[in-house]
Assembly symmetry: C2
Homo-oligomer: 428 residues x 2
């Protein structure tokens, strides 16, 4: 395949479409015929049931021909197989959907495996084991630090030595389209005495997440040279945050209830193979990382990240942020290696959030806390509406896009809508 020129599929799509033959994302969906949840990919506007393709005998390569690893509710079984199987699956699917393949005219086969995207329900793609959230955008950490401690001490001393992260809540990771209930809890204006309140500072966080495909044994670290072979792919992540609950609860052990009510992921996981043409040199790191975090040619990916807010009065989201994955100070290999350095065993299905991804420009700030500078500046929704934090009925839309030569590799959508808080009678 010639890099930089679009591949040709018998499925039609435009050069702007997120899911051409160059992408081959992975997800799970409810097959509308069987009502079973299976692993799937997507070509253009079709969701492709990979379990059906396997039953039809199309996975004839050595790694995938025996067990139908796609006939599962989650991708974990496939993810655990490792890179040779991932590469084989990608090549098999690309050949099958190439213009002129024998499958092009197999109407019976296509009717069993292809479903219109807008007719199916996408489900949470991975049985998420442990969820970790990093804090790897230096611009974001600096901005938040400025609000709390002022510009002179904005960054903590450890920030440029290690990828700061914390353990998150795996159970409340939900797939795009799941509504998010506004939380209630303790907030405190004076940081001395709390009151019971619904969250008044509900925020999104523009993040990406990496799924671990292959883990490591407890007690054995992961060398950074091997890190990328553990990573199955990337997706979008909206790490919803209750800022007023957070500032009261997080001392001294970190965010807890302010984050664990919901984290929304996109239904599609984009593989590192699909992102390979969009690899770029990683930003310089000063000080030089310690040897265990040092790579020969550190790289990252050039992925434009868009966030829009749509109020109940609007027909479409209004863009409030355009950032890019490349703004992360620590890359995914460094995050993974650091996570396992003390011997922590990473598992198939672990999910590593990047932290809010902000650039240096105002328009590149990846959350309302930064966009409104802690509530001080109003953010326009393009009509007569403004926001400092999210209102009930608002939906937040995220997407990610890589622009190739004559084609696009995209992440699809990551969407969630805010429902009003429950009545107190549900609590006590």
């Amino acid at each position: 395949m010639e890099s930089g020129s679009a591949l040709k599929s018998f499925v039609e799509y435009t050069s702007e479409h997120h899911f051409p033959l160059e992408n081959i994302p992975y997800g799970t969906f409810k097959n509308p015929e069987s009502n079973e949840i299976h692993c799937c990919t997507r070509i253009g506007d079709f969701v492709v049931d990979l379990a059906a393709l396997h039953d039809l005998g199309h996975f004839s390569g050595d790694n995938l021909k025996s067990e139908n690893v796609f006939k599962h509710e989650f991708l974990n079984t496939f993810m655990a197989l490792g890179r040779p199987s991932w590469t084989e699956a990608r090549a098999t699917i690309q050949n099958l959907f190439a213009e002129g393949s024998s499958f092009e005219n197999d109407e019976d086969g296509k009717s069993k495996a292809l479903f219109a995207f807008d007719k199916v329900e996408m489900t949470l793609p991975v049985d998420i084991k442990d969820y970790t959230d990093f804090y790897s955008s230096k611009n974001h950490a600096y901005n938040v630090g400025c609000m709390i401690r002022g510009p002179d001490n904005a960054l903590q001393p450890n920030y440029t030595y290690l990828p700061v992260g914390y353990h998150g809540r795996a159970s409340s990771v939900v797939v795009s389209g799941t509504d998010v209930r506004r939380p209630k809890g303790q907030v405190s204006a004076d940081k001395k005495v709390p009151t019971w309140s619904d969250c008044k500072r509900l925020d999104f966080e523009l993040e990406m997440g990496a799924y671990v495909g292959v883990g490591n044994e407890l007690g054995k670290p992961i060398k950074i040279a091997n890190a990328s072979d553990h990573i199955f792919g990337l997706s979008l992540l909206n790490d919803w945050s209750a800022r007023d609950i957070q500032v009261w609860e997080y001392v001294p052990l970190g965010p807890f209830n302010a984050k664990n009510f919901a984290s929304t992921v996109s239904p599609w996981i984009i593989t590192l193979e699909a992102l390979e043409p969009f690899k770029i040199a990683h930003q310089d790191q000063d000080p030089e990382p310690m040897p265990y975090l040092r790579e020969d040619n550190p790289s990252t990916y050039n992925i434009d990240l868009h966030v829009g807010i749509q109020s109940e009065n609007m027909d479409a989201p209004h863009e409030v942020c355009l950032s890019n994955f490349k703004h992360l100070y620590w890359n995914v290999n460094q995050q993974l290696t650091h996570h396992a350095v003390t011997g922590c065993n990473m598992s198939t299905g672990d999910f590593l959030g990047s932290g809010t991804i902000s650039g240096t420009e105002k328009s590149e700030r990846g959350c309302l806390l930064e966009l409104s500078w802690a509530g001080k500046e109003k953010v326009s929704l393009g009509n007569d509406e403004e926001r400092v934090f999210l209102k009930d009925g608002d939906s937040v839309h995220m997407t990610g896009v890589c622009k190739g030569d004559g084609y696009t590799v995209g992440f699809g959508d990551c969407v969630g809508k805010i429902l009003p808080a429950l009545d107190d009678s549900e609590y006590f």
Copy 2:
């Protein structure tokens, strides 16, 4: 059954034994005949294969008679059934092992279900979903706060308003008997520039943990009046901690690598039914908790907790701490209700660590950080050895004991031994 007088079983044990007919703990073990892992209980020195008892037709009650929920590698299926099933299982087992039961003379049945404890391997009892660690001993938080901020600001303002907690790492929870590798990572003497080092301040933390049996739906809180029906039981927990790694990494998002290399649980889970005779009034809470955290008759359990250290030169552990579960400022119902207050969905198999359980006395301090007052005071091992933190080859032994009238309900042992750090060549 008359409270305060010992039940009689055809299995013999002393009044000091941790596992009389009053206990009926739950665990999992590898059946030495089939090599399959099954759910089990324990009476005296016998491990009882509950899957075998089910196959023999002994679970004839309405809740448990159909599916053999004990023929699993983990207790989760049984735990998810809820309190009526838990109560039924306990009554069935107590009747079966009572003196004079028909099972007493069923040599064939007993040979299928009973195994000598010292001949079998116990396994991790629960497929742990999310692991959360609280910080609910006020004495511990005060002591640590004194070391960091001095006595005037030892407790953070939120401490007496909510049970502070953070999300932990589920994958590295291991069962008693698993060796623990001394971690390596970044440490910093001046808190400005780090060095690469093996952990020099390796510590244990005496904790207990509560397993969630029945969860709640995402977005729906748990009322405190219903909290205890969600709790399957309690076990011992040693939350190993790398103190020098922790102080460098934990700002501002909490402990991460300092905790995620291993957390050891005891193999037996003790049910709330077994602990009922040891229920006592909970300590006064001032200020009064907010309504969602307020109970009519708050209670806790009187459980003596012992910690011993055994060096490679010793034949038995030397006791370094005698604490009690009752010292926790926040009880398990409050922890669970607070965890779910923002709508976080709790799942079958979630594990809630209590935080280090320290009393007010020096001898009641639940970790070496407190016992050695951050390394300043040496702790005697009873021979000519002293410790400020753990050395390679040290094993830490924890146990928990409830003293009844003529009988004991105990937690068994929670043990782990420190292995030396790996060579740098494993890291880079």
